[in-house]
């Protein structure tokens, strides 16, 4: 690896945008107003599944101040085939003929005054012929209620092609992995365990709700669109909008300032196609800002059911069968990718010879589900690490030792056959056990307060194959500007990328300017997701900076300077141009190697460019009279490679763990016949300062990702992996009761305690 010459990498540089954020002056799409701009208010479906008989817009149109009420017929005048999506072209800009979930957009009211748009939207009335609906992912496998009449894969992914035109099914993708001889593995085992776990539908809930603005200019043949959007994927937005319009990419400009949180919600197309179409329909700028409530009708995290069965012989896991059902909601979004990319890690970070995985992406009549910080991994880890603990408990084995005996070691094949490389699973487990003082006696409480502790470890493969491109521009005074389409949504990518540039160019990170995504200016990047940016874009940024450095060296040679003469860059430009003029442009492009899995067996020699490893330990105190659980200590340990910015790494780890703590203890979208009944922060409670343990620790183990920039890899999700099962395991340790469904609420636990005492609480 490169020498740590200039000391920019590994330094806790303050965030470049920090001053703008603490003074309230940071730029968000939220702040944007354009001359002549109209505000759009979305009218939403009130039924979970139905054919639209009629939409009556008359009263809304009659309200003073309403500019226009737009339905799909108007949209089709500018976008004849109004269906989008990263995996399937299944989602319409506004509902076409049918609605598939409560909250689906069916019309938009436009007005210069947002209050008038709101009021008018409530006057739009739709008439539906209701259809049978399905909400549960397992029921969706066999339900007579079919969400989509026919499947429409996007063609982007080769492994979805076979689904083209399939009908009478809710299965949007089935992924299968076969390794070894499962029957033999179970036959050889001394003990076979089978458990089923369920996770609930939850919400990203960025505090900046979805917001997009579009402005159109020019005529029919030279028209241009500029979309200002709180998006994690500006390049995708540009390509998808261009495809919808039948335009070349260069007539669509997508600009993204800071995001007020993303967490996977603001990926692919959310409001962008709608505001683009509206701007073309009315030829005025259009802004749509969702309310907090409307976020519940836009994108959620997959609920899941996971049946897991393992055989154990002499403390070694000999066989494992995984069946996972993912509740994708009404539109596929990126769900099929989760089903496959996360699905293949369902057996956990364990060395198991005989493995079967069947992972299914299901359509249901719920708000669509997509990526959420962990991309399906936290759901899987909850199941397999609860299962691990239950087995250890049953076999009277120490949970840490049982894991140690079974974990995937460096160089061993994972279930796909891909060899583990630079995955510090053993080190993470060791450091967690040490931080938890695992070998020492533990105070277990008394009376109605019982204490317990638990651990869990999970892993994730990075998404692949994906591309990132970066440009480093060195100006005539030697100052450097980075152009890349990575979106800083709070993870600190501007700062980390500046550190990479600075390290290579031997300047201060604080002196690097990072240009925010603007597809007219910044080059392509797949998206800011899945903890991929620091690795993928980081490599591209490093290559771009090295390219610039090489060109500076070439310029020095051209000017006849001796090798290593270290003449300041500004002087080189001065010598060359005789004035302060010119640029040096370094370009970096990165695409890691990848081999797609075999369709039938899921086997591949190269499933991922790198592995992420995260573990958590929890200590809890349980009130046995009420079931209330206090998490008193939460320890997160992860392999993040070599930290570029240790301070930000720590915040990423604890922030991810706290978010997952909310998904573990508190959060759940509550449904009543397909209607969400808690669509607000008053009733959907996310963690506050009072809900988190006073003792939170995070540690990045000493590790290096050899293929990463300066040894680094992604960190945004690793803190989520182990939290849920560590707490479930700690609760079992405290009171001897096992919860297999998230969230782990006080009432759920109290009922389980009563059931265990053979005195079940009435419903």
């Amino acid at each position: 690896m490169a020498a740590m010459g200039s000391g920019q990498v590994g330094r806790s540089v303050r965030r470049l945008e920090g001053a703008a954020k603490v003074t309230g002056r940071a730029e968000y799409v939220h702040n944007l107003r354009l001359p002549g701009m109209l505000y759009g208010k979305i009218v939403r479906s009130t039924v979970p599944h139905g054919r639209i008989r009629a939409i009556d817009t008359e009263a809304a149109r009659a309200l003073a101040g309403v500019h226009r009420v737009v339905t799909i017929a108007d949209i089709r005048a500018v976008v004849p085939e109004p269906f989008y999506g990263p995996a399937f072209h299944d989602q319409p800009i506004l509902a076409v003929d049918k609605v598939h979930y409560v909250g689906e957009p069916i019309a938009v009211v436009l007005a210069a005054d947002p209050h008038i748009a709101d009021a008018a939207a409530q006057l739009v009335v739709a008439d539906y012929e209701e259809l049978p609906a399905v909400y549960d992912e397992v029921e969706a496998m066999t339900s007579a209620a079919i969400v989509h009449d026919v499947l429409k894969p996007a063609g982007t992914f080769p492994d979805l092609k076979h689904l083209q035109g399939r009908h009478d099914t809710n299965v949007a993708l089935d992924f299968h992995l076969r390794r070894g001889d499962l029957a033999k593995g179970f036959a050889e085992a001394d003990h076979v365990f089978e458990h089923t776990f369920r996770t609930q539908q939850v919400l990203h809930l960025p505090l900046e709700p979805f917001v997009s603005v579009a402005e159109a200019s020019g005529g029919a043949d030279d028209g241009r669109l500029t979309i200002h959007t709180a998006s994690q994927s500006p390049s995708f937005v540009r390509i998808e909008i261009a495809r919808l319009l039948g335009w070349p990419e260069n007539r669509v400009r997508v600009k993204v300032p800071y995001l007020g949180g993303g967490f996977g919600a603001k990926l692919y197309i959310k409001l962008e196609a709608l505001v683009a179409a509206l701007a073309l329909v009315v030829r005025r700028p259009v802004k749509i800002s969702l309310t907090m409530e409307e976020q519940f009708y836009t994108l959620t995290k997959h609920a899941s059911t996971f049946r897991i069965k393992s055989g154990v012989k002499d403390g070694r896991i000999t066989a494992r069968q995984c069946e996972v059902w993912w509740n994708g909601g009404a539109y596929a979004d990126i769900g099929p990718r989760i089903t496959q990319k996360s699905g293949f890690t369902a057996p956990g970070p364990y060395d198991i010879e005989n493995v079967h995985i069947d992972s299914y992406s299901l359509y249901t009549n719920l708000t669509p589900a997509g990526a959420l910080r962990g991309f399906g991994i936290p759901q899987l880890v909850f199941a397999y690490e609860s299962h691990t603990d239950m087995m250890a408990r049953s076999l009277k084995l120490d949970p840490v030792e049982f894991r140690r005996a079974n974990i995937l070691r460096e160089g061993r094949p994972q279930a796909t056959g891909t060899l583990m490389q630079d995955a510090a699973i053993a080190a993470v487990l060791d450091r967690l056990a040490a931080r938890m003082n695992w070998g020492k006696a533990f105070e277990r409480g008394s009376g109605t307060t019982r204490r317990g502790r638990g651990i869990a470890i999970g892993f994730k493969a990075s998404i692949s194959p994906t591309t990132s491109i970066a440009i480093v521009n060195v100006a005539a005074d030697g100052s450097a500007t980075l152009y890349c389409s990575t979106v800083d949504m709070g993870q600190g990518s501007d700062t980390a990328n500046a550190q990479l540039v600075a390290e290579v160019l031997d300047i201060k990170a604080e002196a690097v300017t990072v240009v925010h995504p603007d597809t007219d200016v910044t080059p392509y990047d797949m998206a800011t997701l899945g903890s991929r940016s620091l690795f993928h874009m980081g490599n591209a940024v490093k290559l771009a900076a090295q390219d610039a450095r090489d060109k500076i060296a070439a310029l020095a040679r051209e000017l006849g300077l001796p090798e290593g003469s270290n003449v300041p860059v500004a002087e080189l430009f001065q010598k060359k141009y005789k004035m302060q003029a010119g640029n040096i442009i370094g370009i970096g492009s990165y695409i890691p190697p990848y081999a797609p899995p075999d369709h039938d067996t899921g086997q591949t020699p190269n499933a991922t460019p790198y592995w992420m490893v995260g573990a958590a330990g929890a200590e809890v105190a349980v009130d046995t009279e009420t079931g209330q659980v206090r998490v008193t200590r939460l320890v997160n340990v992860a392999d993040v490679g070599r930290p570029i910015n240790p301070r930000i790494v720590e915040t990423q780890l604890s922030g991810a763990a706290i978010m997952q703590l909310g998904f573990t203890m508190q959060e759940k979208i509550e449904l009543d016949g397909g209607q969400i009944v808690n669509a607000s922060l008053a009733d959907y409670k996310i963690p506050s300062l009072l809900d988190i343990p006073t003792d939170i620790q995070s540690e990045a183990v000493e590790a290096e990702q050899q293929s990463g920039p300066f040894g680094a890899k992604g960190v945004g999700e690793s803190g989520t992996f182990g939290v849920s099962p560590a707490i479930a395991n700690a609760i079992d340790d405290a009171v001897g009761v096992r919860l297999t469904t998230l969230p782990l609420t006080a009432e759920t636990l109290y009922r389980a305690l009563r059931a265990a005492a053979n005195e079940p609480l009435e419903d």
Binding site: S12, R14, R15, E17, G18, A19, A20, K21, V22, T23, G24, R25, A26, Y28, H30, N31, H115, L205, P206, L207, E208, P209, Y258, L259, G260, G261, G262, F263, T291, M292, M489, G490, Q491, G492, R647, I648, T651, Q652, S654, G655, I658, M659, S680, L681, A682, I686, P687, S688, L689, L690, I692, T694, I696
Partner: protein, 157 residues
């Protein structure tokens, strides 16, 4: 039903024509291009819309703009007049934010806390700031920042 109100905004006397159903956040954004107070949850629970009115913190999203008539209104943009104040400085030092959307609210509330309790313990900090939400969950860093600011302010006082 427009009406004209007069108030002091960040130290300067101003007037604005408002509708009775506007809230304070809308007033600041529509008439004064101040975007540091943001409506997020719209229910007074997240604190993103925190504004100081007559020296006390209010949720701008639940505060009728008309009630600002005659009042002294201070927003995040006004702190310490151009130079960062000790709370902002401590938030930077401790990395007490990620996306930054909730940060102005936390900064304003932390200042209020330190005004009332110059030397708060962890428990006081957690209770006082429990009405502010940070989805990025930079909570440990926020507690650290408030304590650092308290130390620096006591030293400076």
């Amino acid at each position: 039903m427009k009406r004209t109100i007069h108030f002091t905004l960040n130290g300067a006397p101003v007037e604005a024509d408002i509708a009775p159903h506007w809230n304070l956040v809308e007033l600041l954004q529509r008439e004064f291009d101040l975007f540091g107070a943001r409506e997020s949850c719209a229910q007074g629970l997240c604190g993103c819309c925190t504004v100081l009115v007559n020296g006390t913190a209010v949720s701008g999203c639940l505060f009728l703009a008309a009630f600002a008539d005659g009042a002294e209104v201070v927003t995040i943009e006004h702190l310490a007049g151009g130079k960062l104040d000790p709370v902002q400085e401590a938030f930077l030092e401790c990395g007490a934010f990620q996306c930054g959307f909730c940060t102005p609210g936390f900064v304003l509330m932390a200042r209020e806390l330190l005004r009332a309790h110059p030397d708060p313990d962890d428990d006081e900090i957690r209770h006082y700031l429990a009405g502010n939400l940070c989805r990025c969950a930079a909570y440990p860093e926020i507690v650290e920042a408030v304590k650092l600011a308290a130390r620096n302010m006591r030293k400076g006082a």
